[in-house]
């Protein structure tokens, strides 16, 4: 228990350092732009591919489970839309990003720790926590909501194409379904979740990397822990935020 509380305490101490005043805002701005490319733009491909196939599978599974003629075909489009917006675009994408960018952040910062690059920053008088972590946090909080919107669009498109090519639903029915009783707040809900998940992925992974002690083996372990803890917290906060935002 004491170990757990120490861990939580160290996490918040690190966050306090991260959110202290930057030494040179122009340098932080450049770093943020760099992170937007590394952590954001470079994730577009994987999110697009995964969302496309998720949308396709949701459409096919909904179709095979609603073969009864009493269910209208447009329900397939509606099911795909709501599944993508409410859950898959934010939560599943966040879990994938926890694996991709979470391990990347933990191993990058962890390697900098064990090769004394963080010490070099500290010696220069740079707030290493803020310099290394704040631009990553800002970049993911800005870009992950964009990735979520992309995931929704690509997923619904993938679902439509899968339905059309497999013949389980006509394009007209599918398009009617994705427009049927659309609730714009669902997008807001999904984006709010994404912002929380982006913060969790980046801060937990950076925390794991920042306090690494040892060598390459420990960096690997920190990277694994970053993915596991981020994923668990994403699932926990998914429940909490759903209860708070949709109840």
């Amino acid at each position: 228990m004491i170990k757990f509380l120490t861990l939580v305490g160290n996490y918040f101490i690190l966050l306090k350092k991260v959110f202290s005043k930057p030494e040179k805002p122009s340098v932080y701005y450049k770093q943020t732009m760099r992170e937007l490319v590394f952590l954001g733009l470079n994730s577009v491909g994987i999110i697009a591919i995964i969302s496309f196939f998720m949308g396709a599978v949701i459409t096919l599974q909904t179709a095979y489970n609603t073969e009864n003629p009493i269910y209208p075909k447009y329900l397939i489009g509606l099911g795909c839309r709501d599944s993508m917006i409410l859950e898959f675009s934010s939560t599943i994408s966040a879990l994938i990003l926890a694996g991709k960018i979470g391990s990347n952040i933990a191993s990058e910062i962890g390697t900098m720790r064990v090769t004394e690059q963080i010490d070099a920053l500290e010696i220069m008088g740079v707030n290493s926590a803020s310099y290394l972590i704040l631009p990553k946090l800002v970049a993911t909080i800005i870009f992950n909501p964009i990735l979520t919107l992309l995931a929704i669009a690509v997923g619904i498109t993938g679902g439509g194409l899968a339905g059309w090519f497999s013949g389980v639903v006509t394009p007209e029915s599918y398009i009617y379904g994705i427009q049927y009783e659309f609730i714009p707040y669902y997008i807001t809900y999904s984006e709010i979740k994404t912002v929380f998940f982006a913060f969790i992925i980046t801060s937990i992974s950076a925390f794991q990397g920042y306090y690494v002690e040892g060598g390459s083996l420990e960096v690997g372990k920190a990277s694994t822990k970053a993915v596991v803890y981020s994923s668990l917290l994403i699932l926990l906060f998914n429940v909490i935020l759903t209860q708070l935002l949709l109840s």
Binding site: E23, V27, M112, E116, Q117, D119, I123, M124
Partner: protein, 252 residues
């Protein structure tokens, strides 16, 4: 001048430094020597504030450094340069960007002025035509020299070197030693070097302290080290058979 008074440091109950007191003089190459695991690096990191000492004082001129709050420490840290054992160059930055980094962070120079300063520092350490290379493309000796260039970019008052010769061949090691000594005199810095390389000791050891098992056992210069009566120091200095033979001939 850096003054250390009664410094103690332990990790998980294991005492690593015990009551260390020493004065490191300005314009001199001050060496901390000792066996691996004797506490040299912990002492150096405690002086620069990377480790918090359990007790004791570290004075930079008239400022009690180790008791300063974080923000005030940063002011003195901007006057420090440090060369790490593994060079600690930033992997994602080129040679030029590495040397320019402290200038970006702490000066308001124009880009042209920064590049001019970077080129001056790189030329001073004999790194030419390598501005756009990444650290992974450099040899061990080049990495050390780039790290020295980065350390002197802001004209520091204090230079700290943690085993600057580790992993280098004897000739390159001498080049690095000479460079550090020249820079120390040129900029009148207070330089502290951690080493267990006896070549360095004999080349540049203007003031030397010997640490064994966390205790300061001896203090002197490179001439006095050969005639010391300190047992652990003699075991360290005359560790190999050639050195032992030379000592016996020297005493005769």
């Amino acid at each position: 001048m850096i003054t250390v008074k009664n410094l103690n440091k332990s990790f998980n109950g294991h005492r690593v430094l015990e009551n260390i007191s020493v004065v490191f003089e300005t314009g001199k190459t001050n060496l901390i020597i000792g066996q691996s695991g004797s506490g040299k690096t912990v002492l150096l990191k405690s002086i620069v504030g990377l480790h918090d000492a359990d007790s004791g004082e570290v004075w930079f001129e008239d400022t009690l450094f180790n008791k300063l709050p974080f923000l005030e420490k940063k002011v003195i840290r901007s006057e420090m340069g440090m060369l790490f054992q593994g060079s600690a160059l930033f992997d994602s930055l080129t040679v030029e960007q590495n040397v320019q980094f402290p200038l970006d962070m702490f000066t308001n120079k124009t880009n042209e002025e920064k590049i001019e300063r970077v080129n001056f520092c790189l030329k001073r350490v004999n790194i030419l035509n390598s501005n756009q290379l990444f650290p992974s493309e450099l040899s061990g000796g080049m990495k050390k020299r780039v790290a020295i260039a980065r350390a002197i970019a802001l004209n520091p008052k204090y230079l700290f070197c943690d085993e600057p010769n580790s992993g280098l061949d004897p000739l390159t090691a001498i080049v690095i030693d000479e460079l550090i000594k020249e820079l120390t005199m040129e900029y009148s810095m207070t330089t502290i070097i951690n080493t267990h390389d006896m070549n360095s000791v004999m080349e540049i050891g203007e003031k030397i302290i010997f640490i064994s098992k966390g205790l300061k056992c001896w203090e002197g210069d490179k001439n006095e080290i050969l005639i010391s009566d300190c047992g652990p120091l003699n075991d360290f200095v005359f560790a190999n058979s050639l050195a032992k033979r030379l000592r016996s001939e020297y005493r005769k």
